[in-house]
Symmetry: C2
Subunit: 189 residues, 2 copies
């Protein structure tokens, strides 16, 4: 039985369920069926454990994105498919929305820092793809950083913020539809 893996599983479960602050190392140890000291042989502290989990998630998302994107499809189609896939994560991973909620309630600086890094990471990936599409003359020449930021913020707005002020979450088709009709549409040459 891989102890490192057990710890990661337990910690992921706990962070997702209770957030960063409310997750204790004793709890993680018990959930993982290891002594507390064992955790510290793999991760030097709570923050590093947390970091490892969040970036495992980002890498999982990135891998799924890379598996989808194909040179044989248009930017428009690729964007559409990746957007659909990312919307699946919305339900599958409770972690991010839990962290966003925690960051709003209490100001946990470690959580804040991680969320900023996650944002930078994702915006960076989006920007890379836009850049490439511009080089390929697939889309118009636009301010890459700003458009990437817009796409990220629009995604978060529809996928996460919407249900704060509306009764129910937006169905995925609607989100995909508005992206297709507005931001993506504006980019075609």
């Amino acid at each position: 039985m891989d102890r490192r893996h057990e710890i990661l599983e337990a910690a992921t479960k706990s962070f997702s369920l209770f957030g960063y602050k409310a997750t204790t190392m004793d709890q993680v140890a018990k959930l993982a069926n290891v002594g507390k000291g064992t955790i510290y042989t793999f991760f030097s502290n709570k923050e590093e454990l947390f970091h490892a989990i969040v970036f495992a998630m980002i890498n999982e998302m990135k891998a799924e994105k890379d598996a989808i994107i194909s040179d044989r499809r248009s930017f428009q189609e690729n964007a559409h498919l990746v957007l659909m896939k990312m919307l699946e994560f919305r339900e599958r991973h409770a972690l991010l929305s839990k962290l966003i909620a925690e960051e709003k309630e209490m100001q946990t600086p470690i959580v804040q820092a991680v969320l900023v890094k996650v944002e930078q990471e994702i915006v960076h990936y989006i920007a890379e793809h836009i850049e490439r599409a511009i080089s390929n003359k697939e889309i118009r020449d636009v301010d890459v950083e700003l458009v990437a930021y817009l796409i990220f913020k629009a995604y978060m707005a529809f996928a996460v913020d919407w249900q704060m002020t509306h009764e129910q979450a937006l169905p995925e088709e609607k989100i995909v539809g508005v992206f297709r009709d507005t931001i993506f549409r504006s980019l075609i040459t």
Copy 2:
């Protein structure tokens, strides 16, 4: 000397400077040079006074918007001019950003409720104008509510959120530019 007006001035100053919670009625009374009881002859409680001020601000913004919008200009041009005007408010009125900050720090329920109403109000105005432009065949037929929400969220993202994760605020021309190149561009028939 109009007492009601003095009270509104004093309260606006205090709410903008200190936020909702840190503004005391005694303080407002002293600043307005009236007895505390006098405030209660005009406003039934602190929340109502607060409400009056925030919605005076919204109405001021609405008035500026109405003064700008003209049937003789295209939707595109009107949108551009209104966007420019709204960006001026960003610096002029410290109140809204103070409230947003307060809402993030402590969870003041009254502030939260007002911010939700402000969002609804503004999104509603945007939606009305989109609706009209669609009727006039000026822009394409799109999901009005979602596009209005997108415009509002994009505005907040560039005008307010951007400087949270970046060194400095975005210059207004850049914000106007990205709107022109993406969302507005996608709407033209």
